[in-house]
């Protein structure tokens, strides 16, 4: 922390105004921003300067007699209509051409599928690898095909200066070309509910070899069921709402110390007791609103995983939850 003085905020990567320039768009956006900023400063100083001058010069005071009739002046009126118009046209044109670059991906792109849900991101790579953080190679054009499972989201990478909404029922695209290796923030910029502000992720820009190594490794899920279950837990969005620490509530019930216990559930409006066993967990994943845990009814907006997970994967998740029955983090997984 630095005494609340914003000029000290600029670290070696960032200017006062902007995060690092990590994509090909950044240069244009920043230049354009500065150009418009200087235009604005010019007009602002003009307006406020004149305002202060007039207030001081023509203030009511003894011995000063102001005029009360306006002198009409066509010349200045035309002047201050035409000049702003020309400037506005320039700003529009430059902005539009920059925009066209930002929405027109080149022919050769690396396509990554993105799934957004409350409140996590899943990235799926061409070789089948799945991750919750985005990994991309440097200096390659990347195209994200984005879908949402529930509500509106918006993938925003400040360092890349680009964002696009993710709309359920549609596929939206976002392309960029990183020019700087490092780790940058991903935000959700479209309000999506309770944990909107925690729907954060990171994008890691590797060199090409590093990316290849990473993606090859990420495509191999563990084979041991508990570890596989955790692997899926981290990548299928479970982690956003269910914790693995006993009694820690994020949105839904914690996975820890739950297997084998008896809980009150609501079936429709019917209250009853239910043992948390394999069958219950399986049903709750495939049809989350069938039997709602009492105390978590309002949180039960979980989407069904019917068709998204096969039986082996379901089984792995059940095993993972089972392994957490004593609350201790399961051994042998990382």
């Amino acid at each position: 922390m630095n005494l609340g003085f914003p000029f000290l905020l600029a670290d070696k990567n960032e200017t006062f105004w902007f995060p690092a320039q990590a994509s090909t768009f950044a240069k244009e956006v920043d230049f354009f921003y500065w150009a418009v900023l200087w235009i604005c400063i010019f007009f602002f100083v003009l307006v406020v300067g004149l305002m202060i001058t007039f207030v001081v010069k023509y203030r009511r005071r003894p011995g000063y007699q102001g005029s009360s009739l306006a002198e009409h002046n066509n010349f200045v009126e035309i002047l201050w209509t035409v000049i702003p118009t020309i400037i506005a046209i320039w700003i529009f044109a430059r902005g539009a051409s920059g925009y066209l670059d930002m929405v027109t991906p080149p022919a050769e792109t690396l396509d990554i599928n993105v799934t957004a849900r409350k409140w996590s991101w899943t990235f799926q790579y061409p070789n089948g690898a799945i991750s919750t953080q985005l990994h991309v190679p440097n200096n390659k054009a990347i195209k994200l095909n984005m879908r949402s499972e529930d509500v509106l989201h918006c993938l925003f990478v400040p360092a890349f200066r680009c964002k696009n909404d993710v709309v359920p029922g549609r596929v939206h695209y976002l392309w960029f070309q990183p020019i700087k290796e490092g780790v940058f923030d991903i935000f959700c910029a479209e309000y999506c509910g309770e944990r909107h502000s925690e729907m954060l992720s990171k994008v890691t820009v590797h060199d090409v070899a590093g990316y290849e190594a990473w993606v090859a490794d990420a495509a191999k899920p563990p084979t041991e069921p508990v570890a596989w279950g955790r692997w899926l837990y981290e990548r299928q969005g479970c982690m956003g709402c269910h914790s693995t620490e006993p009694d820690k509530r994020i949105v839904g019930p914690s996975f820890a110390k739950s297997f084998g216990t008896t809980q009150k559930v609501l079936t429709g409006n019917q209250a009853g007791d239910e043992v948390i066993n394999e069958a219950y967990i399986r049903e709750s994943i495939l049809n989350p609103s069938a039997k709602k845990r009492v105390g978590f009814e309002s949180a039960s907006q979980m989407q069904s995983f019917q068709g998204k997970l096969d039986e082996k994967q379901l089984n792995a998740i059940v095993e993972f939850i089972k392994s957490l029955r004593d609350g201790a983090p399961p051994a042998g997984t990382q």
Binding site: P84, A88, F92, L152, C154, G193
Partner: protein, 570 residues
């Protein structure tokens, strides 16, 4: 001071039996069932100020919570509810009715030299619709759980829990309140102008109100049907906006912004009207470029209908549509720029008096210039790609809505306060309040521009620690701003209790409302007053003993129907 107060009370008592509109009749029902536009205006004024208080407290809660990156005292859910209600209350209950319904109701017939608006009962009806809408929102506040954001974007709003249907029905009802007010003003201004008041002899506030009324009448019904469909979506899942049934959430955004962008001009245009009046009267100089200002109001109103798409630059519209909307967006910036230059030129060679209303008008000019100019970044597509849905947007629209409309509204209240209640207020404290508002406002929202460019998204309950310093600055500013507004409120309440009796014309205004006594009699004018130029100050002269301005030749001024003002000797 006490002598002044006694005199004021005495003169007030002397007035009472002659009956200005405040004392014309007494009792709760004489207010609740009144058809008098002035009383309805006052009731609106109290109502919108109360709403502002509630919305403002919610705003301070947001700013307090954002002092730390982690939870301070609001959970995520509560934070979402607080910002939703802050937005909804400020937009639907405060800003939209503030100038048109509160000040407009009071002033439109007076400025026209008419006895009332065209449909007084419809006018009362729209006030009560506003009250019903208020009740719906209070219900939301009490039930809690409305967490959709004031924009009610689907499908979040159709799936979340909480009283969404209550809020949308509330906004629906408020929409009709707004439509009826607008309709009333259009008809009033069209049909009830006195002989001699041509369109181009109308005060600019009326031009602004008229343009606003056009937007209210043309845009609000679309919001009405959108909210009705949304309510149906909530209650029956009709699927029009819900992807589960093949509906399109982006369609909702189009529907919503088709109203809500023109609504931005419902908010700012009347404020511009106020500034035109304030600048001219307190510079004691004819407004510069009357025709251009009048036309630019209408131009803004019409262009305002064509630019709704700029709220959706990242929503996935076709590229051509996006570019066209960007171009149209810039077209609306020109009339606004023209107005700013005209206001400046109005001061040139005038006699500027730094009264409280003028301080607020200059404050407006400063803040609105920033608000307008930062709009250029957001209208430009490539920059918007980065800035959309960040704090930059938040700061931009607060500079326009709050720095523009609210500041103009407060300035307008101080300007017409003597006319409304017949009391003067303490100038020094009025100016001090303006200073606090100025400092507090800029401290609150300037850092938010920087947060925005650095990538801080809006509507975040938690944030990365790197933004904390800027958030602390912003929150500090918010409390200073709140303090400034409380001083302003205190000045007004003090004036109500101990203010000096106001003269007929304390500022030297030449529009017709300054021709009747302060406060005006029940029936404003006995016969249509003689209309002169609204910004011709040459026949006015300051009378020291009255602390007010009078016409040189008494016959120029029309005789009000009731009494001459009792002149306070202090």
């Amino acid at each position: 001071m006490s002598v002044v107060a006694k005199n004021a009370e005495a003169s007030h008592a002397a007035d009472a039996h002659e009956g200005d509109y405040l004392t014309h009749s007494r009792g709760f029902l004489s207010w609740a069932l009144t058809l008098d536009h002035k009383r309805i205006g006052i009731m609106y004024l109290i109502g919108v100020m109360t709403s502002f208080l509630v919305g403002g407290i919610l705003a301070l809660m947001i700013r307090a919570e954002l002092l730390t990156p982690t939870q301070l005292f609001l959970t995520n859910k509560q934070f979402n509810q607080v910002f939703t209600l802050h937005g909804a209350i400020m937009v639907f209950l405060f800003i939209i009715p503030s100038v048109p319904a509160a000040l407009g109701n009071f002033l439109v017939p007076l400025m026209l030299g008419a006895k009332d608006v065209a449909f007084p009962r419809l006018n009362l009806c729209s006030f009560y619709l506003w009250v019903v809408g208020l009740i719906f929102f209070i219900a939301c506040l009490l039930i809690t759980g409305l967490d959709t954001g004031w924009t009610f974007y689907t499908p979040y709003s159709t799936t979340t829990e909480g009283p969404v249907a209550w809020a949308t029905m509330g906004a629906f009802i408020l929409g009709f309140s707004s439509i009826f007010t607008g309709l009333n003003f259009i008809v009033t201004i069209n049909t009830m102008r006195p002989p001699g008041m041509t369109w181009f002899k109308m005060p600019l506030f009326l031009w602004a109100t008229y343009s606003t009324a056009i937007i209210q009448v043309l845009a609000t019904p679309v919001l009405g049907i959108t909210l009705l469909l949304l309510t149906a979506e909530r209650l029956f899942q009709i699927g029009i906006f819900d992807p589960r049934w093949n509906g399109d959430p982006v369609a909702f955004q189009h529907f919503f912004w088709f109203y809500s962008h023109p609504a931005v001009y419902i908010m700012i245009l009347p404020a511009m009207g106020i500034i035109s009046e304030l600048m001219s009267v307190h510079s004691h100089k004819t407004i510069f470029g009357y025709t251009l200002i009048a036309y630019s109001s209408v131009a803004i109103a019409l262009f305002g209908f064509l630019v709704w798409g700029h709220h959706m630059f990242t929503s996935g519209m076709a590229d051509v549509t996006t570019i066209v909307f960007s171009a149209l967006t810039f077209s609306v910036s020109i009339p606004s720029a023209i107005k700013v230059f005209n206001w400046l030129a109005t001061m040139y060679k005038g006699t500027v008096q730094l009264t409280t209303p003028m301080c607020y008008a200059l404050n407006f000019l400063f803040l609105f210039t920033i608000g307008g100019l930062t709009g250029l970044f957001l209208g430009a597509l490539s920059a918007d790609r980065h800035l959309h849905d960040t704090y930059f947007v938040v700061a931009h629209f607060h500079y326009v809505m709050m720095g523009g409309t609210l500041v103009a509204f407060v300035g307008g209240i101080f300007h017409w306060w003597p006319k409304m209640v017949g009391k003067m207020y303490n100038e020094l404290w009025g100016q001090i309040s303006c200073l606090f508002v100025f400092i507090g406002f800029n401290l609150t929202f300037l850092p938010q521009f920087v947060m925005g460019t650095r990538g801080m998204p809006r509507r975040y309950a938690r944030y990365l620690p790197e933004f904390q310093d800027l958030h602390i600055m912003s929150s500090t500013g918010a409390f200073i701003l709140g303090f400034g507004l409380f001083i302003a409120l205190g000045v007004l309440i003090h004036s109500l209790m101990r203010g000096r009796k106001a003269p007929r014309n304390p500022w030297g205004g030449a529009t017709l409302e300054w021709h009747c006594s302060s406060p005006p009699p029940h029936y404003n004018f006995a016969s249509a007053p003689t209309v002169n130029e609204p910004y011709d100050y040459t026949p006015l002269a300051y009378h020291d003993e009255e602390h007010g301005w009078e016409y040189h030749q008494p016959n120029v001024r029309p005789t009000p129907s009731q009494s001459h003002p009792v002149i306070a000797k202090s």
